[in-house]
């Protein structure tokens, strides 16, 4: 297998996206077929790489002996790349129906495809520098997607989004420079890269770790830097569903995992004040997100709050700084991605087909939108953590890591997880209850006209349901993969 192939899935979608601009007059159907083909080709190449490549290295540009722009496929990268490239075609399929009446589809798909390349770039980056580059690219290419609607609030949200992202990246940049000085290399190495130069400067390094963590945490919507995610809920549903529940935000969590386990090394950080502070921030965000979600009646924003909370589960697992914590973190990364995309897409179907978006508008709607709300219920159960759905496994793993850690801060975090699970049940099941059990027979307006969406929407939604259930029933392969492939 030629090594240059690693760069292919990264640059191919970016290139394809750029080509879409070159042909503005393209017909909708043609464009759909093209984008779908591109994403499928990408998926196939990624799969090939992952099945064939043990650990492949590819240097693209060498600036100095330390600053190298390079790709590599390792366990963690594989993990994230599979997740993203499998979900992409399904999201595209969904967007074909969701965006059918949109006037600026060309622009939309341009950036949508470019995002795929940027995310895969983050997954395959060999070192901190390359990851940083793609991190910035990701911020820039998703920015037009956020303000796609071009309404005043969308534009405002877009600008806020950009400033948050760039500000966060600035922190990450500081972290990178410090590592450049104190580390042996910038290349990700499990267990950390800090070398001789680090000794004596521990307290400064821990401080720099903390600000880097917060900087990367902006993408992972760590409070107090998570407000952008709520504002960005004005974006079209495929963007909110895929990018702001999986790709972009998980890239933040992914970068944090890289930072902790592959740059600083868990042993170096474990027990430092930064770890406890990070845990506190995560625990706080978990509760904050869930509580705000309970209050929010706009279903899309409610799910966005829920995303804030769930991302912190992932980060919380990571900052436990143990193999068990990382297992929990990565499991939740997958399970949340799968379940949340289903939830977002079901609400998107509700918005697109029936133009309802508030909780109080959906009395009894589940009896008409059978397929959509059955999926919503099942994905919701997964997110709450009802056995044997996927979300249960990840929460189980996280709690396991908490008990494994055994410290008081970890237990407090564990308690927050449990309280948050309860709040999750409240904010998801009240919606389900409204949809299926209309109080005193009161039905929503236009109940007769309510209908299920078309197959293009239902297939992705049900794909996520099936994945939630299957991963919940047979999660051993997943955990084995994390155990043997990554740790």
């Amino acid at each position: 297998m030629p090594t240059f192939l690693i760069a292919f899935p990264v640059f191919f979608p970016i290139f394809a996206g750029a080509l879409l601009i070159a042909f503005p007059g393209m017909k909708r159907r043609t464009r759909n077929i093209c984008t779908f083909t591109v994403s499928i080709i990408n998926l196939v190449v990624v799969m090939l790489l992952i099945i064939n490549g043990m650990t492949m290295d590819m240097e693209m540009i060498r600036f100095t002996s330390q600053l190298v722009f390079a790709f590599r496929i390792d366990g963690l990268g594989k993990f994230f790349a599979i997740l993203v490239s499998v979900l992409w075609p399904f999201s595209l399929l969904y967007s074909y129906e969701y965006m059918e009446d949109d006037s600026r589809q060309g622009t939309f798909y341009t950036f949508f495809m470019m995002t795929l390349g940027a995310v895969l770039g983050i997954a395959f980056a060999r070192d901190f520098f390359s990851m940083y580059v793609f991190y910035e690219i990701l911020s820039l290419v998703t920015f037009p997607l956020v303000m796609h609607e071009m309404s005043p609030e969308a534009v405002k949200a877009g600008w806020h989004y950009l400033v948050y992202m760039l500000g966060g990246a600035a922190f990450a940049f500081i972290g990178m420079v410090i590592i450049l000085i104190y580390g042996d290399t910038l290349t990700f190495t499990y267990g950390g890269v800090l070398g001789q130069a680090a000794s004596g400067n521990e307290s400064m390094l821990v401080f720099v770790f903390f600000i880097t963590f917060m900087g990367l945490g902006v993408k992972a919507a760590i409070m107090p830097f998570g407000k952008w995610l709520i504002e960005a809920a004005v974006a079209p549903m495929p963007v909110t569903g895929l990018l702001h529940a999986v790709a972009v935000v998980k890239a933040g969590a992914f970068a944090i995992i890289r930072l902790i386990y592959y740059v600083y090394g868990a042993d170096f950080l474990k027990g430092s004040w930064a770890q406890y502070l990070c845990m506190a921030v995560c625990a706080f965000t978990i509760l904050y997100g869930s509580t705000m979600a309970v209050k929010e009646l706009h279903l899309k924003r409610r799910l966005a709050y829920s995303t804030i909370s769930n991302l912190s589960y992932v980060v919380f697992g990571a900052v436990l700084m143990s193999p068990a914590g990382m297992t929990g973190s990565l499991t939740h990364l997958v399970m949340h991605a799968v379940a949340k995309i289903g939830l977002f897409f079901s609400i998107g179907a509700l918005m697109h087909t029936n133009h309802k978006v508030y909780q109080y508008e959906i009395d009894g709607i589940g009896k008409k939108m059978k397929w959509t709300f059955a999926a919503f219920t099942l994905c919701g159960m997964s997110l709450i953590g009802i056995p044997q759905f996927g979300g249960f496994i990840s929460k189980f793993r996280l709690l396991d890591a908490v008990i494994d850690d055994g410290g008081i801060p970890a237990y407090i975090g564990g308690m927050c997880l449990i309280i948050s699970a309860l709040l999750t049940a409240v904010y998801l099941l009240t919606t389900v209850q409204k949809a299926y059990f209309p109080a005193d027979g009161h039905l929503c307006d236009g109940y007769d006209k309510v209908r299920d969406p078309g197959w293009k929407m239902l297939v992705p939604i049900w794909f996520s349901v099936i994945m939630s259930v299957v991963l919940g029933l047979a999660w051993q392969p997943l955990v084995d993969f994390i155990k043997w492939g990554i740790l």
Binding site: F171, I174, A425, V479
Partner: protein, 705 residues
């Protein structure tokens, strides 16, 4: 996958059955709409037949599994790696009995529901989710690994939501919300406990758990002992929530009156028992000889017993009374189970009493709730004042209800008496064993036990009197129209017969049933214990005395009820008064305000403060400081310029014209524009970044110099 494969089918057949039911009846099943005559394809009867078929087939599978068990010489079944830890089932004494009881319950309930619901709406949902609940319940009872228990327990909790919320009335939805909240909180707390237990003991298999726990007790390391107790407490919380243990009993009195009566029978008869099952496992397998744990369970049991009984005495609603009675009876069972670790070696009587009590209570509640169903489906009322004397001329229903009522009150010759006496015996035994303060406590507990028994008698008599003896206030219509159908009667007669049969044949059968039920995991009654059970004198004077005291109390309390909780109208009719103070509702008083008002308020205000207000504040201060600095600097420069104007450039001064006017106006405009941007948090962050970058450059300078 190994062992008796039939067990797998026992557990999963109802799930498959639910699917088949949906397949067979789903298409032709659209809800009836009175305005729409085109929708003709509506076959509830087919749905009932299908459900009934599934249950009957399940009964056949259970019998087959029983017969087939000895052939393969194992009563266990294991499914590797499914759901991670694998699933593990057993089919020994207690589990067999409970599988049978559950099947009987679902059979009867389904039989009645045909007539009860008629052509109601959303029956498909009710029946399929009911079958899933059925399968999950069997899964709980057959599980021999706490992880398996947990999985099915959760499925059961969620699926049975449809039972409570079925009518979709506002009250029902509220109660269903409570039910779900209790189930979810209980489930999560239990999960935490199970994981801690797993960490301490290294296994969740019941057959190894006993040994592992014993070792920990023997080693006596305070740290791990403490953890074991914490884990035990958390698991007890989870199972107790489902069982209706105080203070988590809140869902029972709310859920039962609003759920359809056939579903209430199941909720109260079987689903609460699955919680009891968990407590039983804790007391038998893990804390087998722990005084502290047993004592806690006994105390909670006593409180539950009294609370439930008091609520029932004051209640004026047929099904609500029965629900409160369930709470109280669960208290009796918990007391019996709690005595097991206390008595340790001598626990035969208490344990067999508790086991028998479970079965009895299932049967009683089946009979009573189905009687309530028979009343409700004819007059659609449950308030005692509105169904007064409804059953005066319905002899069959009257007798059936009487059997249930007397059985649950522990009247001799019915099966309730036996179980109650056994637990009482256990208690007396412990009084003899203990000394000091504990002895005094248990002497008091004995009286509480007897008085609660009396209260049971009193409120059951109250119900019977109200529905079947009091003179009716109004005409209810002809008897023929008010009599329930044959199927419904059959459904009630079956368990009623069992109650009488187990009561009269106590001497003959009870010992055998109990000894059979004693096979639980690795444990079984040994020879000595069997002897004790066979040598019981159930109808000895001593035992009859306990029952007599109870009934005497009951009669007194009943008289008091007639005196203080009823009012006689001028025309001779009784009016039942609801004298229970409204504010004494633990759910409305504590839980709901706490969970729905106070906690969210606290979280939210803290959250908004920390995540939104505080950064904004800091940013504002920073901006003020920065602008002050900027003003200082620019003022300094400006003064320099002014100074130079006056001194060095004085000769060249053209006029006192503002050379910077243009710049100033430009800046003023910019400042306005700038304010819009600068008022955002993100901008503040950007500024901080700049500051940090300067710091960084300085750091780099230090490093490289």
């Amino acid at each position: 996958m190994k062992g008796n494969i039939l067990l797998l089918i026992v557990v999963f057949w109802p799930f498959m059955g639910a699917f088949f039911t949906w397949l067979m009846c789903g298409r032709s099943f659209t809800a009836p709409d009175e305005n729409d005559n085109t929708r003709k394809c509506y076959y509830p009867s087919r749905l009932y037949m299908m459900t009934l078929g599934v249950v009957i087939f399940e009964a056949m599978i259970i019998i087959a599994a029983l017969l087939y068990g000895p052939v393969v010489n194992t009563d266990a079944f294991e499914l590797h790696r499914i759901c991670g830890f694998g699933l593990y089932f057993r089919f020994d004494g207690f589990r067999v009995v409970y599988a049978c009881v559950s099947t009987l319950m679902w059979f009867s309930s389904t039989l009645v529901s045909g007539e009860y619901f008629g052509k109601g709406k959303d029956l498909m949902r009710y029946q399929t989710l009911g079958l899933i609940t059925y399968g999950a319940t069997l899964g709980v009872f057959l599980s021999a690994d706490l992880y398996t228990t947990f999985i099915f327990f959760e499925i059961m909790s969620i699926a049975s939501y449809a039972y409570v919320a079925h009518t979709e009335k506002a009250a029902a939805l509220r109660a269903a919300g409570t039910y779900l909240a209790v189930a979810v909180i209980g489930g999560l707390v239990m999960l935490m406990g199970l994981m801690m237990l797993y960490r301490i003991c290294g296994t969740l298999r019941l057959e190894y758990l006993k040994e592992a726990a014993e070792e920990i007790f023997k080693a006596g390391v305070p740290g791990s002992l403490k953890e074991l107790y914490v884990a035990g407490g958390l698991i007890l919380f989870g199972f107790g929530a489902k069982a209706g243990m105080f203070p988590l009993h809140i869902w029972l009195p709310k859920a039962h009156p609003v759920a359809p009566a056939p579903a209430s029978a199941l909720l109260s008869g079987v689903l609460t028992k699955s919680g009891i099952f968990g407590v039983l496992v804790l007391c038998l397998e893990i804390f087998g000889e722990s005084f502290g744990f047993g004592f806690t369970v006994v105390v909670l049991g006593l409180i539950t017993m009294v609370t439930g009984a008091l609520l029932a005495v004051f209640s004026t609603d047929l099904k609500r009374t029965l629900a409160c009675s369930s709470v109280s009876q669960i208290g009796f069972i918990l007391t019996g189970i709690g005595l097991v670790p206390l008595l340790a070696e001598e626990s035969t009587l208490a344990l067999s009493g508790a086991l028998l009590y479970m079965v009895n209570h299932s049967l009683f509640k089946l009979v009573l709730f189905l009687c309530a169903a028979a009343v409700y489906m004819k007059c659609h009322k449950l308030d005692l004042n509105e169904i007064q004397g409804f059953g005066r001329d319905l002899p069959v229903l009257k007798i059936l209800f009487l059997i249930g009522a007397l059985g649950i009150s522990g009247v001799p010759l019915l099966s309730g008496y036996v179980a109650k006496t056994l637990i009482h015996e256990g208690m007396v035994e412990y009084i003899h064993m203990s000394s000091g303060g504990i002895r005094t406590f248990f002497k008091a507990a004995e009286w509480v036990y007897l008085i609660s028994g009396g209260m049971t008698f009193a409120y059951m008599t109250k119900l019977f009197w109200a529905v079947f003896v009091d003179k009716p206030k109004k005409e209810y219509g002809p008897v023929a129209e008010r009599t329930a159908g044959r199927a419904a009667h059959l459904a009630i007669v079956l368990p009623a017969f069992l109650i009488v049969f187990l009561g009269i044949g106590a001497k003959l059968y009870v010992g055998k049933v109990v000894i059979f039920m004693g096979h639980f995991n690795t444990a079984a009654f040994d020879h000595e214990q069997t002897e004790i059970l066979h040598g019981l004198h159930l109808f000895s004077l001593e035992n009859l005395k306990g029952s007599a005291i109870s009934i005497a109390f009951g009669i007194v309390i009943f008289v008091l009820i007639r005196k203080f909780l009823c009012r006689k109208e001028a025309d001779g009719h009784m009016v039942y008064l609801d004298r229970w103070p409204k504010f004494l509702d633990i759910e409305e008083l504590i839980y709901r305000p706490l969970l729905l008002k106070l906690f969210p308020f606290l979280f939210r205000s803290v959250g908004v403060f920390v995540a939104e207000k505080l950064p904004a504040l800091i940013y504002k201060r920073l901006m003020a400081a920065a602008s002050a600095c900027a003003k200082c600097v620019s003022g300094f420069v400006q003064s320099l310029v002014d100074l130079s104007d006056r001194t060095v450039f004085a000769p060249f001064r053209v006029k006192k014209a503002d050379r910077f006017k243009e710049t100033r106006t430009f800046l003023a405009g910019e400042e306005k524009r700038f304010k819009v941007i600068s008022a955002t948090l993100s901008y503040g962050m950007l500024l901080i970044c700049f500051g940090l970058i300067f710091t960084l450059i300085y750091l780099l300078y230090l490093l490289f110099s």
